[in-house]
């Protein structure tokens, strides 16, 4: 085993007396304090804050437009642009879900659907938002690009049963996605 000699910085007398560094530190913190008090904290515009610090003060100012592209919010189900519900009820998301938040009951494809090629469609699709950990594995595993994480982050049910989202809610929140999944087209 070899010894590694860590080079300690050499302190000058001024550093050892500590008073000068102390005053420098106090000046730095006071600068932040003064800017905050004057509502002029640096970077306040990025968060649309009141200027007392750079905090986004939640109910008044919100993340909505500033959410990054990769933000993972509540999972939702989507329709394709041809109006077909994309989910084929393969239950991969149910199996991959580490929190076991998803429950799928497979059923038959409804007779009025535009595409009858796939064998199944979800009869029921429930996501328990109290269990969901927003990991995005369902989106990753889905072979049909049917489940996506939205940017919704304000999930405030008033009781446990409200936290479980059913199929209608999920489709309503998901909306329609662009980009054809050609798997079930007549071209294939």
């Amino acid at each position: 085993m070899s010894y590694i000699h860590i080079k300690r910085p050499k302190f000058s007398i001024l550093d050892k007396i500590y008073v000068v560094e102390l005053v420098k530190g106090l000046a730095l913190t006071f600068k932040h304090l003064a800017l905050s008090v004057c509502h002029k904290s640096r970077g306040r515009d990025d968060f649309n804050s009141h200027g007392i610090g750079v905090c986004m003060e939640f109910p008044e100012t919100r993340w909505d437009e500033r959410l990054p592209e990769y933000y993972r919010g509540a999972p939702t189900l989507v329709h394709g642009e041809d109006g077909r519900e994309r989910c084929v009820s393969c239950q991969l998301c149910e199996f991959i879900c580490p929190a076991r938040a998803i429950r799928v009951v497979p059923g038959a494809v409804s007779p009025d659907s535009t595409c009858q090629k796939q064998e199944k469609a979800p009869a029921e699709f429930e996501i328990d938002m109290l269990r969901c950990i927003y990991c995005g594995m369902c989106q990753e595993v889905c072979p049909e690009q049917a489940i996506f994480l939205s940017k919704e982050y304000l999930i405030t049910p008033t009781d446990r049963s409200q936290a479980v989202r059913n199929k209608e809610t999920l489709y309503r929140l998901g909306g329609t996605r662009k980009g054809l999944v050609n798997k079930w087209n007549e071209h294939k």
Binding site: G25, T29, H32, L33, H50, I52, G53
Partner: protein, 420 residues
């Protein structure tokens, strides 16, 4: 009416009754001031911490307007109802100002209600006492921490004296001739609270915290006592009221720019006094267990330190004790170095010549302002400096401050002896 006035006259003419009644009045005032300052300093701590860290701090807690049912619930926006009630259009600058001040939901009062809510929360918390503690000492410890600072405040003068027709009233609870010694002696007692808390908790982290508190308080008591000896050599008295009177006449200890006796000697004495000031303030930080010297409760090594096992109001007592110690420490520093109640620049004598009671009021306000400023300094330092390591704290106390203060005493003596 006549009889009441006569009875009052007779009562106050009796020296003992006069003394007792005025003392009780002063006692209540001092107690109220300290407890109010404990609350306010918690608020200052949280707000200033926020500002320094680029956050707003607790600015929400206020008087909620939805309590006024007349003007609608929280959802219905009381501000709109108010404005409609007075016939102010919403685009008017008054409406905008109200919105900017957040009056549309409540009157925030800068979040000053927050400490009351904190107190209420702590009061309603579940009180758990572990089975394995030494119950008597466990209960006694928080009282022993909160008590001494309040008792030590007795000798701190908050104003000069008033001459009434029944006799003079000195504006400090006890006008003792041993002022600083009393404060050191009493505030030294609070170490018992910390030690007992650490020991009676019967668990290892509080125990180490209690030991650290003991060692630290005792070490810094030495330097603290030695640091003010140069001052006492200059003032020639231990009576705090006289010390402040001297500063009002001759300029504050750290600001000798008015009064008689200004000369080369005073300016030369600034050097030892400045050293005294730095050492004393550092020791006050250590005594009050404040960052950068909060070794006794540093979370990184000791969970919560000596109050790990405490909950609810027992914890709150420790919390209040810490802040009370901070307030008293500030009061002592202000009294000894920053002129105490003195308004400064010779204004005290002029005010006293004009009206006694006005002078007392102004001096009281001046004292409170200085106290607030120093409490702000306490908080400012806390959010600037990182915590020292334990061996550094001990080294600073015994190897630096002790030597510096002893040398300082000789320096002061030399200046006083040779420069005349």
């Amino acid at each position: 009416m006549e009889t009441i006035i006569k009875w009052w006259d007779e009562l106050m003419s009796n020296e003992i009754w006069f003394y007792s009644l005025t003392t009780v009045a002063k006692l209540v005032l001092m107690f109220a001031v300290i407890l109010a300052f404990v609350v306010i300093s918690v608020w200052i701590e949280r707000r200033v911490a926020g500002w320094i860290q680029d956050r707003p701090g607790p600015n929400r807690a206020g008087l909620p307007l939805f309590l006024l049912k007349r003007f609608g619930s929280k959802q219905q926006q009381p501000l709109k109802s108010w404005l409609q009630f007075f016939g102010v259009p919403e685009t008017c600058w008054i409406a905008k100002l109200c919105k900017w001040l957040r009056f549309d939901r409540e009157i925030p009062l800068l979040g000053l209600i927050q400490p009351c809510l904190d107190g209420g929360k702590l009061f309603l918390k579940q009180e758990t006492t572990p089975d394995y503690v030494r119950r008597l000492y466990f209960i006694a410890a928080p009282m022993l921490v909160l008590g001494p600072p309040l008792v030590a405040a007795a000798v701190v003068p908050f104003s000069s004296h008033v001459d009434t027709c029944y006799g003079a009233i000195q504006m400090c609870v006890a006008n003792l001739n041993i002022g600083p010694l009393w404060i050191f002696a009493i505030s030294g007692l609070s170490v018992y609270g910390l030690t007992l808390a650490g020991w009676s908790s019967n668990s290892k982290f509080p125990f180490i915290g209690g030991l650290r508190a003991t060692a630290q308080l005792i070490s810094y008591e030495v330097a603290m006592g030695l640091a003010i000896i140069p001052l006492l050599m200059i003032f020639g008295t231990l009576n705090l009221q006289d010390i402040v009177q001297y500063q009002a006449d001759n300029g504050w200890t750290l600001l000798p720019v008015w009064g008689e006796g200004l000369g080369i000697e005073r300016w030369l004495l600034m050097l030892p006094l400045l050293i005294s000031f730095v050492v004393f303030v550092t020791c006050v930080f250590a005594e009050a267990n404040r960052t950068p010297f909060d070794m006794a409760e540093c979370e990184t090594d000791l969970v919560g330190g000596y109050h790990t096992e405490y909950s609810s109001m027992k914890f709150a007592s420790f919390f209040m004790g810490e802040y009370a110690a901070m307030v008293i420490g500030s009061a002592v520093v202000v009294t000894l170095f920053l002129g105490g109640w003195s308004v400064g620049f010779g204004a005290d004598a002029a005010l006293a010549a004009y009206c006694d009671w006005l002078a007392v009021l102004c001096q009281f306000i001046a004292f409170l302002v200085k106290l607030l400023a120093f409490i702000f300094f306490f908080v400012w330092v806390r959010w600037t400096l990182p915590r020292f390591r334990w061996d550094q704290v001990m080294k600073l106390g015994w190897l630096v401050f002790l030597e510096v203060t002893v040398a300082n005493i000789f320096l002061t003596a030399a200046i006083l002896y040779f420069v005349k």
